[in-house]
Amino acid sequence: MTAVRFLAYRLAGIVLVLLLVALATYLVFYLLPADPARLSCGKPCTPENYAAAQRYLGLDAPWYGQLWNYLSGIVTGRRFGSGTGVVDCPAPCFGYSFQLSTPVTELILTRLPVTASIAIGAAVLWFVAGVLGGTLAAVRRGRALDRAIMTVAIAGVSAPAYLVGLLAILLFGFTLGWLPTGGYEPFTEDPVGWFVHLLLPWSALAFLQAAIYARLTRSEVIDQLGQDHIRTARAIGLTERAVVVRHGLRNALIPVVTVFGLDLGGLLGGAVITERVFSMQGLGSLLISAVGTTDLQTVVGVTLFAAFLITAANFVVDVVYSLIDPRVALG
């Protein structure tokens, strides 16, 4: 298979997954117990008001019609109501929050930079620290560094990120006063403040994962270094660094990247929790406050957006994967 066909195949698969996810989400949220029309009908909820609310929200259509309106709204935008009470929701329309009188897409875009900053920075930190630490531990097997990394990894799996985060705030924020205890500065306004505010959230979220990745990388590198091609590479006189990095690590990274792809969903969840620990106003706090006020349009919109985001990120991981492991793209 050529690279182009591989990509086209993967893209088609992703569109299918997105459609199914949208279908499942829609069915769960709009057709199960919660009744959006009743929620927005006001009190007292007369049958006329209820019918009007249903018409306004487009809930008088059969379920497949509603689903179609919702899906096509993401691509082309959509309009609620008619006449004087009309509300426009421009594409890509992930719903319209009638409580906040704002399209959900707009809400998401104002909050996304916070969550994305946390998640991407933490992911970079955990991947780099994990792979570096694991490789070092593998090369220095049995020494103090190796033992330290493995101990942290075992204890780390049991400590939730928010506990680590809270302890980190207590130590570096309150006691030592080195770093801010919470809040967020936009990168565009103050890059240094952005970095300083995110340092603790990144570390808290990445710490445990880095330990887990270190352990995985370590066992993979040790496994690889015992293979025949490594003996050959050493025999033809390559430097130890070249042997480890080019022949050991490259192959060892393949399963690590696979696990990384699986962990992206968890990364987003971790970012949601981290937001709360460091009092940042990201996607997570948007979602949780929408849950608190039963703002269903926002709940569904954010959920679907999160699913789309993770699916897209997985596609990127797949492409990277095919670059590291040529067998995937060619075979």
Binding site: P160, S219, G265, L268, G284
Partner: protein, 309 residues
Amino acid sequence: MTVLRHLRHDPWALAGGIVVLLFVLAAVLAPLLTAIPGQDPYRYHLDALDDSGAPRGFGGGISAQHWFGVEPLSGRDLFAIVVYGARTSILVGVGASAASVLVGVAVGLVAGYFGGWVDRVVSRVVDVMLGFPSLVFMISLTAVVAASFPKPLLIVLIIGFFGWPSVARVIRGQVLSLRSRTFATAAEAMGAPAGHVLARLLLPNVGASIIVYATILIPASIGTEAALSFLGVGVPPPTPSWGRSIGDAVAWFRVDPAYLVFPGGALFLLTLAFNAFGDGLRDALDPRVSRGRRSAATPVVDDRVVPNR
């Protein structure tokens, strides 16, 4: 039993098992334990607080009556909250894991045994679900169910629903290799119905994996419940929950760190103990892992399956 003998020589697993047992005992005996100092997790003790709502005295108001101090703002007994919180954590953890195992084993057995398009569909669904932002979905799902539905049961079902794919994947893999073994082929050749082969021949052979996976799932489910309660969408007040206490402690831990330390410590200790016990159990039940000392290269807790190497 070789399993017990093996566990006896694994100090980490032994310690983990004992700690888990102590927590379970504390949860079961919660009313008796809290009766010793004469406390319960619901009664307010405003006299134990100062004007700002913070507990009076050392360590969040630790005293002969309040062994772990009291909760800020309400003055409820923190020891009672932690002990009753163990009930919440363990019940939700075990309940959700049971749901995950039940669904996961059923799906895994069917997919592995029948193969073909059933297996392809199941495997794709599992792949998609494993990579999913499940916490985000769980948060959203707490919003859509009618308020009359009991919230703790909803939490159990939601956590259980997102736990089955990993079980299904492991069981499927095992059934795939088991069904080509001679005893399964022989039973089929003699005309045994699929149900008989699945329930009587294959299920008992994956029993060990089910036990190991349950011990991995329980601490994970406990952690998820704590995370949901921490975010304010989990078990509703006044039912004690460690996660919610930790979440409430965020606003207080500068003034009253003890309010974070006791529920947080309990959560960490129970999860660590479960993980240590689960590791030991896996070593004891899995003949492929070397008996005696575990080699350092064996992944201890992380049991994610790496496909297509």
